[in-house]
C-alpha cells in the first residue's frame, strides 16, 4: 500500500502550546547563571555612548527639541540597547542553540514542536532585552533623565519593540550557514538603522529621501514613541507606531518560522 501524504505548507499558521514556557525557562536559567556579567555587558555599551555623546556633543549642542542633548539621547539609547540585546540573542545565541549545540533538536524529541521553540526564542529574546533595558532605565532614572512615573510606560514599549527586533533577527538565524553571516545583517541593516532612526539626532534632520526610508524602520517607530513617554509631551499617532512594531514582530516571526521549518523539518 502506498498512501501519499500531504506535505504541510511551511507557511501554515503557527501552532503554539504552553510547552513553549519550558523552553523559555531553559533559556532564562542559562541567563541567570551569568546574569550579572550579561547585564553589565548589555548596560555598559549604551550607557557609555549616552554619557560620552551626551556630555561631549551636549557641550556643543545646548538643546535638542527643547531638552538637553543627553535627555534627548536617553530615549534613543533605551530603544537601541533593546534592539541590540534582542538581536544578539536571537542571532548568536539562537544560532548556537539551533545549529551548534543542537539544543532545539533535543527539545523536538520531547513533546514540543518547532513552533513552540521558535516562539520561545522570540519571547525570551524580548525578555532578555527587557531585563537589560530595565538596567539602562534605572541609570536614566537615577540621572534624572526621565520626567515622571509616566516614563514607566517605556517598559511595555521596550518589550514590544524587542519582539519586533527578535522576529526580524530570527529570519537571519533561520537562513544563516554560520556566525559570519550575521555581519551582513549588522552592517547592512542594524548599523544604518541606528543612525537613521532618530537615536542620536532628530530624524527630521535627514534629507527627504533618507527620511522616507527612515520612516519605515522599526527602530524609528520605537524611538518616536519612547521619547515623549520618557520626557513627557504628546505622542504622535501612537496606534500607528504600535501597530507598525507589532506588525514587524508578527511578520518577522511568521517568516522566520516558515524558514526554520524548511531548514529543520525537511
Amino acid at each position: 500500500m502506498d498512501s501519499p501524504v500531504e506535505i504541510p505548507s511551511i507557511w501554515r499558521l503557527p501552532r503554539i502550546s504552553w510547552r513553549f514556557a519550558a523552553v523559555w525557562r531553559r533559556n532564562f536559567l542559562v541567563w541567570r547563571k551569568l546574569a550579572l556579567p550579561s547585564t553589565l555587558g548589555n548596560l555598559a555599551d549604551p550607557v557609555i555612548y549616552m554619557f560620552g555623546l551626551g556630555f561631549g556633543i551636549g557641550a556643543l549642542v545646548p538643546e535638542v527639541g527643547g531638552v538637553s542633548y543627553i535627555a534627548f539621547l536617553a530615549a534613543g539609547t533605551l530603544c537601541y540597547s533593546a534592539m541590540n540585546s534582542a538581536t544578539f540573542e536571537v542571532l548568536y545565541s539562537g544560532f548556537s542553540r539551533m545549529h551548534v549545540q543542537k539544543t532545539w533538536e533535543a527539545i523536538m524529541n520531547a513533546p514540543v514542536e518547532l513552533d513552540d521553540i521558535v516562539f520561545a526564542e522570540l519571547v525570551w529574546a524580548a525578555s532578555k532585552a527587557l531585563l537589560s533595558g530595565l538596567a539602562v532605565l534605572a541609570v536614566v532614572g537615577a540621572f534624572g533623565l526621565a520626567q515622571s512615573w509616566q516614563a514607566l510606560w517605556i517598559i511595555p514599549l521596550i518589550f514590544l519593540a524587542s519582539l519586533a527586533f527578535a522576529g526580524l533577527g530570527l529570519i537571519m538565524t533561520a537562513l544563516a550557514p554560520n556566525y559570519d553571516f550575521f555581519m551582513y545583517y549588522f552592517t547592512l541593516f542594524i548599523t544604518p538603522m541606528t543612525l537613521l532612526s532618530g537615536v542620536f539626532f532628530p530624524a527630521e534632520q535627514l534629507p527627504p529621501g533618507l527620511a522616507a526610508v527612515a520612516a519605515w524602520l522599526p527602530l524609528t517607530h520605537a524611538v518616536v514613541l519612547a521619547r515623549p513617554i520618557l520626557l513627557g509631551g504628546e505622542i504622535p499617532s501612537p496606534v500607528l507606531h504600535l501597530a507598525a512594531l507589532a506588525g514587524y514582530g508578527v511578520v518577522g516571526f511568521w517568516l522566520a518560522l516558515a524558514l526554520t521549518r524548511r531548514r529543520l523539518m525537511k
Binding site: S3, A22, R25, K102, T103, E113, M265
Partner: protein, 311 residues
C-alpha cells in the same frame, strides 16, 4: 498494542531529476517489550526512518502509528510516551547532569516534585551518582552517552528509540549501555535502535532488520536471518599461493570446493554447508592460511549490502 507500526513508508528529498528516495517502501511492526535493531550501512535510510517515525519530518507516503497515535498528525502527543537517544549528543553544556534531567523533564510537562524524586534514580541508572552537580563539558564521552540515555528515560517511555547508541564509545562504555538496554527491555520497555555494529545487533536484538537503499532486505531473529540468507560455515582464505595471492587461488579452485565465494582485497571468503572438501583441499596448500568459523550477521550484512565503501 504495537508501540510502532510503519506501513509503506517512503521519503523523497528534492524534486524532479535531482530527487532522491531515501526510504523506498518500508514496513515495520514492533512487538511490545522487544528489542529491535535496524541494521544498515551509512546512508541506508535508518535515521530518516526514525525521524519520520517521531514526526520530525513528513513522509512522502505511508502510514505511521506511534504509541497508538497517527504520526505526524498527533506526533506531539505520541512523543509523550517515547524516549529518544540521538546519534549526536545534544546535552545542554550550560547545565549540570541533574539540571539537564530536570530541564528535559519539563519539556514533558513533568512537575518539579516528580522530577526531584526521579532524578537520583536516573543518575543511578546511568552510573552517574556522584555527578549530579557536574557540568556536561566535564563528562567523558561514555558519561555523556549515559546521561543522554538517562534523559531519554525521564518520562518513563513505553518505547525507547536509539540512533547508533554506542558509536564512538570504548568497549567498557558499550558494555554498560548494552547491559542497561537489556535491563530496560526485560522490564517491558520496547527498544528500537539503529546500528551498523553487527555484534551490537546480535547481542541486543530479539529481532532485527537489515536495510539498505531505503528498503528492508532481511528481517527476523539474528539466527533466522543468518539461517535464511547465508551458508552456515565460512572459511576466510589468505596468504600466498604460487607467488600470487589468495584471490588467484580462489579464481582457480574455490568454485569446486565450496558453494560460493567472495573476494575482498587479498582475502577470499568461502561459504559452505559442509566445509570438509575445502579444508581437505587447503591442507594441500601449505602457503595459504585460513580462518574457519561459523557464519555470522556480518556475513549476511555484507552479502546483502555489498562490500563497496559507503562515503
Amino acid at each position: 498494542m504495537s508501540p510502532l507500526v510503519i506501513e509503506g513508508l517512503r521519503k523523497r528529498f528534492g524534486q524532479g531529476a535531482s530527487a532522491r528516495e531515501v526510504v523506498a517502501g518500508l514496513d515495520l511492526r514492533l512487538s511490545p517489550g522487544e528489542c529491535f535493531a535496524l541494521l544498515g550501512p551509512n546512508g541506508a535510510g535508518k535515521t530518516t526512518t526514525l525521524r519520520c517515525a517521531l514526526g520530525l519530518t513528513t513522509p512522502s507516503a505511508g502510514r505511521i502509528q506511534l504509541c497508538g497515535r497517527p504520526v505526524p498528525r498527533e506526533a506531539r502527543a505520541a512523543r509523550e510516551r517515547v524516549g529518544v537517544v540521538p546519534q549526536m549528543d545534544n546535552l545542554d553544556p550550560d547545565f549540570t547532569c541533574a539540571e539537564n534531567l530536570r530541564i528535559y523533564g519539563r519539556y514533558f510537562g513533568l512537575g518539579d516534585a516528580a522530577l526531584e524524586a526521579r532524578i537520583p534514580d536516573l543518575l543511578a541508572f546511568a552510573s552517574l551518582e556522584g555527578k549530579a552537580d557536574t557540568k556536561v563539558p566535564a563528562l567523558s564521552g561514555g558519561m555523556k552517552r549515559r546521561l543522554t540515555l538517562a534523559r531519554a528515560l525521564v518520562n518513563q517511555p513505553e518505547l525507547l528509540v536509539l540512533d547508533e547508541p554506542t558509536t564512538g564509545l570504548d568497549p567498557q562504555a558499550r558494555h554498560l549501555i548494552w547491559e542497561r538496554l537489556r535491563r530496560l527491555a526485560s522490564e517491558g520497555t520496547t527498544v528500537l535502535l539503529t546500528t551498523h555494529f553487527m555484534d551490537e545487533a546480535e547481542r541486543l536484538a530479539s529481532r532485527l532488520a537489515i536495510m539498505d537503499a531505503g528498503r528492508i532486505l532481511a528481517t527476523g531473529t539474528p539466527r533466522e536471518v543468518i539461517a535464511a540468507h547465508i551458508e552456515p560455515q565460512v572459511v576466510e582464505v589468505f596468504g600466498d599461493w604460487r607467488g600470487q595471492g589468495a584471490p588467484a587461488w580462489a579464481a582457480a579452485h574455490a568454485q569446486g570446493v565450496c558453494r560460493r565465494f567472495e573476494v575482498s582485497g587479498e582475502t577470499a571468503f568461502c561459504y559452505a554447508e559442509d566445509p570438509a572438501p575445502l579444508l581437505a583441499h587447503l591442507a594441500g596448500e601449505p602457503d595459504l592460511r585460513y580462518l574457519h568459523r561459523p557464519a555470522n550477521l556480518e556475513d549476511v550484512f555484507l552479502k546483502l549490502t555489498g562490500r563497496e565503501l559507503r562515503d
